[in-house]
């Protein structure tokens, strides 16, 4: 078995009732770049966590070079030669690159009493130069740009003689040039005999790099293939599975002609200094308007201002013809505009509280009689929403924290719908949600629109945004740069408006 470095044997992991991995077996050869593909929630992260030791599987084992890996023990896994480089590869953000590379392996002087800073600095600079260099050794790592942080993490792994390097979406925040440097480095490490487990959503990278590809779906291994034998369509089909491909195409027909209802949300000249300026657009009843733009373009800031979380400095918002005073969530909700915020854990849910308590939180005061809550009425309301949105929970009394990501997101949406809004502002409603729940959310958004809801949809998933919206408003650096009808809106045109003009030709991929 000399051609197997890592042998993952029938590994299973479940979190409560959710089965994240089911009897996954996978072998990685020495000096192989092995790509791991799958939709969100397929089990990739869980597998990475198991290999890194931060999560112990319920069953199965992993052999590394023939020896059992001490699963559930980060130190043991690192010792054995597993190194994980996460999307945000910061171990100790406030320490310098040198300290991060040598932490736990410090070079010392005077019999271990003193740190040999000079030698460590030299070592670090040599390691980093080998990786492409250009890293400021003195700065705290958290101040370094992502590409440099990644190099620090790689240097750290190399110093520890990593046998298996796990890269989790390593190019997510890299420019094209930085990506090319990274790829060259990965190939060099491979030639030195290091195995690489490469996790990425970008299929072109998988094809460019990988020797073999393994696909996970719903916690199961769909299969492992030689990259040369695969094409894009086959790989996508493996990832999506037979039944889900139908739901990827959405309703999106827009309101019936002539029925394009009254303007429910009219935003004119809305400005919040430092965030966005002179935002003007209209959303009509029955319409889904997509708000596109790169991360940092100010889309969420607009959403927050509309929802009353932040107070705008200028401009006007009209809800069904009436002026909505800014800066009050309660007035927005009372007026009929509800924001579904982007960060469901931090902004959308009270995780330790029950599903029912979360669903009714915004409207609790409407449900009381003589100041007292009415549990029966709350339960009826919660039950109705849970049924409508197909929220899977043990009961309305289960803590929201016990639900899966998709169901948690449905609770956030349900909480918004409980207020019976006329206008919905959805900020990244499908982020981190599995395929099935995503399709359900898409259907729900369309259904609501058909019933006359005016919806503003923000999503960084451009294909999703295009297929779900009737119109797309594009923002760049806090300003609206264009508005596209359904027919005009292609990924290319949206990107052209969203990207800074001079880079539009050289950079790809905004999602």
């Amino acid at each position: 078995m000399s051609d197997v470095l890592v042998d993952i044997q029938r590994v299973s992991k479940h979190f409560g009732g959710v089965r994240a991995l089911r009897e996954v077996s996978l072998a990685i050869a020495p000096g192989e770049v092995h790509a791991l593909c799958g939709e969100n929630g397929a089990g990739k992260s869980t597998l990475i966590e198991i290999l890194s030791g931060s999560c112990r599987p319920n069953a199965g084992q992993v052999l590394l070079a023939g020896r059992r890996l001490g699963l559930g023990n980060v130190g043991a896994c690192e010792q054995a030669g597993v190194a994980v480089i996460h999307q945000e590869p910061v171990a100790f953000g406030h320490l310098s690159a040198v300290d991060n590379i040598f932490v736990g392996r410090e070079l010392t002087l005077a019999g271990g009493l003193l740190l040999n800073r000079r030698a460590m600095r030299r070592g670090a600079s040599e390691l980093l130069a080998d990786l492409g260099g250009g890293v400021d050794l003195a700065c705290p790592v958290r101040c370094l740009p992502p590409a440099q942080r990644q190099r620090v993490a790689m240097a750290r792994a190399i110093l520890r003689d990593a046998k298996l390097l796990i890269l989790d979406e390593p190019t997510a925040s890299l420019s094209e040039r930085e990506t090319a440097v990274l790829f060259a480095l990965i190939r060099r490490l491979r030639n030195q005999g290091v195995s690489v487990l490469y996790v990425s959503h970008r299929l072109e990278e998988v094809f460019a790099l990988a020797d073999r590809v393994s696909v996970l779906r719903d916690g199961r291994l769909v299969g492992t293939r030689l990259a040369g034998e695969l094409d894009r369509a086959t790989l996508i089909a493996m990832m999506v599975g037979p039944e889900a491909s139908e739901s990827s195409r959405l309703g999106g027909d827009g309101p019936a002609p002539g029925k394009a209802g009254e303007a429910l949300l009219e935003v004119s000249g809305l400005t919040r200094r430092g965030a966005f300026e002179d935002i003007t657009f209209t959303v009509r009843a029955g319409e889904v308007v997509g708000l596109a733009g790169l991360v940092g373009a100010g889309r969420s800031d607009v959403a927050r201002a509309l929802g009353g979380v932040d107070e705008p400095d200028g401009g006007l918002v009209k809800l069904a013809g009436e002026i909505l005073p800014g800066g009050s969530v309660r007035r927005a909700i009372a007026g009929g505009l509800v924001l579904v915020p982007e960060d469901r854990h931090r902004q959308g849910l009270v995780l330790p509280m029950s599903v029912g308590a979360n669903l009714t939180l915004s409207v609790l005061r409407r449900l009381t009689r003589m100041g007292l809550t009415r549990p029966a009425r709350e339960r009826r309301m919660a039950g109705r929403i849970m049924g409508e949105l197909d929220i899977r929970a043990e009961s309305d009394r289960a803590a929201v924290s016990t639900l899966s990501g998709g169901n948690q997101q449905k609770v956030v949406l349900g909480k918004a719908l409980a207020a019976k809004p006329k206008v919905l502002v959805l900020d990244e409603p499908t982020r981190g949600v599995d395929v099935a729940a995503k399709a359900q959310l898409h259907r729900t958004i369309r259904l609501l629109a058909d019933r006359g809801m005016a919806t503003l949809l923000i999503s960084s998933d451009l294909p999703e945004l295009l297929s779900a919206s009737d119109r797309v408003v594009v923002m760049r650096a806090g300003r609206i740069t264009g508005e596209l009808t359904r027919d005009e809106a292609t990924q290319e045109r949206v990107l052209h408006l969203a990207l800074p003009p001079d880079r539009a030709n050289t950079e790809g991929g905004a999602s």
Partner: protein
Amino acid sequence: MNMWRRIRAMGLWHELVLAGLLAGLLAGAWYFEQTRGAEFVSWETQTALSSHMWEMALLSVPLTLIIISGGIDLSVGAIMSLSAVTMGLAWQAGMGVWPAVGLTLAAGLTAGAMNGTFVVFLGVHPLIVTLGTMSAYRGIAEGLIGAEPVSQFPAGFLAMSEPLVAGLPPAGILFVVLAIAAGVLLGRTAAGRELRAIGYNETTARFSGVAVARTKLLLYTASGLVSAVAAVLFVARRDTAKADVGAGLELTAITAVVLGGTSIFGGRGRIGGTVLGVLLLHEVRSLVAWRWNRDELTFIIVGAMLILSVLVHSVLTRRKS
């Protein structure tokens, strides 16, 4: 079985443990005292000893709400002293005793509202705010009154410390009423649910349209008012108004609340737990004082109980998940 399930589901085990400890303590005391004649576990002794408890008990009710909302109020003892001094000076200056009480309550209310204002509008952490006002209020109190305590309040006022119903003085009755009101507030009103949501996740509460600022302002103001009430009752009980009234009481009350199962990090907690925490703390102190007359022993036992209760809690909740 069903009842056990229900207890587990509601997380009532903490209250059960406390009630068990309390019962065990009283049973043990009763057994030992049988052989010695003096009776700790008797109506007379218990009512006599309970008179010391009520002020701390009163403070613990708004404190429970504040801690559940994710805050803390360290200044309740200092507000008591400020209020007691106000009471003393007003009476000394020739004001009628009941108008003086009114002024005192207004002073406590104002002090609490100041806490709330600092917390809400300056966005400073309540621990810092009330640590500061604790020291400031007590300083003002000491500066105002000087060394001589005020006493010789009229008999009608002092009568407030006499038992009224079932051996309970007005302070005890007020505690029962307050505890029930707070229990209803927490369990059965929108405001109670909202303040718990604030404690668990203030950002989500704000994004959900909960009036976070108003809720906090009201909580700290209520805490100040209740502290002033406790101060008035203290002055009536001891016939003395001075600056060290309520000294250290904030920590005893916080201890009782945490002992009662309220999470110091906010969100989790119940009034029933606080009531049991107050009773347990009081009984331990009384018993130690009664049998051994040694205060330092009390501190050690209370400290050990506090740490143990939090430990037991974390062990039990870990197993559940």
